[in-house]
Symmetry: C2
Subunit: 353 residues, 2 copies
Amino acid sequence: MGRTGVVTIRDVARESGYSASTVSIVLNGAPLSRYIPGETKARIETAAKRLGYRPNPLARSLRSQRSNIVGVMVFDITDPFCTPILRGLENALYQANYLSLLADAHNEAHRFERYLEMLLDRRVEGLVVIANWLVTDIKLLSDLTECHVPAVIAGRSFENDSVSTVSVDNEGGAGMALEHLYRLGHREIAFLRGPKALSSSGQRWKGIRIFAQSVGLQLAPKRIAELPESLDPNSGFEAGVQLTTELLRQGKPFTALMAYDDVTALGALRALKKKGLRVPEDCSVVGFDDVAQASLSVPSLTTVRQPMEAMGSLSAGMVLEAIKAVDQKKDIPVMRKKIPAELVVRESTRALM
Amino acid sequence: MGRTGVVTIRDVARESGYSASTVSIVLNGAPLSRYIPGETKARIETAAKRLGYRPNPLARSLRSQRSNIVGVMVFDITDPFCTPILRGLENALYQANYLSLLADAHNEAHRFERYLEMLLDRRVEGLVVIANWLVTDIKLLSDLTECHVPAVIAGRSFENDSVSTVSVDNEGGAGMALEHLYRLGHREIAFLRGPKALSSSGQRWKGIRIFAQSVGLQLAPKRIAELPESLDPNSGFEAGVQLTTELLRQGKPFTALMAYDDVTALGALRALKKKGLRVPEDCSVVGFDDVAQASLSVPSLTTVRQPMEAMGSLSAGMVLEAIKAVDQKKDIPVMRKKIPAELVVRESTRALM
DNA sequence: AGCCGCTATAAAATCGGTTGACGATAGGGT
DNA sequence: ACCCTATCGTCAACCGATTTTATAGCGGCT
């Protein structure tokens, strides 16, 4: 054992009486180990166990050019939408014996780029970017395609890019939410649209238009407000409060409100309460995402659930797949998965009286 | 440039006309570079830049036994208490040019241990454990002390152990919360105590007792309930709902309620609402932690703020400090930091009418 | 002339593991 | 007798850096 107190393969070699090569071959079950008799294998394995030998992954990575590490880039780790994805992702990677190198970009393009370089330097075998709704900078993602490392973007889809993505079916989800309100009898429905710059905004709105058209529902412009663009994740709440307040004051009256996402919906809840309106008695409210706080609010929020944990593990599966492909010198497959959303009915919606 | 498309130090050597050693010495500003004339340095640096040379951290780590990586073990990444700590931590590490290897233990001791091994294998230079209130298994932490790597536990303190910790001043914080209620005129105060197994429970309760005693306030047992032990992070909410409901039905009446933490308080909010009680008009409610949802609820929650982000960066500072100490062959310093809490007054409390 | 010290650079060892080439022995086929 | 193949291992190169040691020229001092 070296001075450092760490057991190397050479220590095992000495202890077992074989060479380092043989030890390596045996312990890894390399092709050549086919010819090595069981007795030898046993002796080497005992020696390794006795010494408590643990191969140094650094050395192994250096030689084999495989780090068993995936870079995980989060745009904002405090965003409640990101953490469940992260959980699913990290868990799936763990199962596959990969470790996650975490990078939180704080919504800063510069930081994203610097981190990207650091991760690539570290020879991550793949990259997963958890993009919340704030990411708008498409340029960053072209960086991704250029780096020749398998990459997957989780949480958002991008039209014209050639990176793999995992995202929810925004269109369908929004349709489901509206259908829910419609079936409850609501016809005068207010909308808090998402910021124009976000593709998910457009998709959700499209789902709304399609459903509305299919049942002949009018979408009155005086019941529609649009969230401003902003980079602060908590701004959604404040914006929800403000826009709802304005709609109440200046817009046409409504019996239900559909918000861009849960945080916005929570803002709406507060604004309605402040105006003395009860939810759901006087006004129903639906959100989108099903973040953790949606079920903890009073009243609990009816919402469209994004299966975030599943999206995380799916992303993991896709990078791992791509890594395997690279290993076999095949092309990196590009896939754009859309996961179905799911309506979760809670207390914030009810039938129109 | 090798076949792999990656530039090595030898490529720079060839390009500049010097040897790899000289290139290394120059680019790192090693002691020997003292003797190297500026012209040579310039030529080497230009060559490196022209080729876009980026040293391979794996190789460097192998040689220098320094990985520039800190292991970050989270007990439950979906816990809203953990993420802000994680943010502060990750940010401070980033500033110091360290990367974070993320491990989410999912509250499972077995997983914690397996991850610990993996991280140590990777030669992390330090370890930070973000412990939420669910961690009770002290044994795990002795593992920590034994591994001879600088370690810091963030979020919890432990009495009889010799690991560095960063935690909030629970006692003082709870005292502040109670004082706040007291000053508002409340005398009949209900309490949802934390699970007995948690040290923070005891500490917060002690703060409560001390303040109560100092002003001669009686703590009626019929207004006190205790959270059960459980490993599910969302159980706090359900428990809050249930215990509050029971107190309302069977206990003595109260005009204010102090919960163990914010999630429990949110549960209390729901239970009160269900019984037709208005917060804060009929009953004030205080939480503890100031997790993100505390400010988003209706009404927003008065609470005791743990400066989580600061706790994260402080933890980072402490590991980095310890790493430096190890580097200079000094002993690993053990510190137990208590950070002051801060009362955040929002809508859920008001003066007794 | 001999030695020291300074400058400028290169060679070689090292970190710890993996891997392709090769040696040695034994048995089987022609 | 000769070649071939299967078996059991080892050697040495290699991954990409860092660091210690070596080399070589030159000026100065005794």
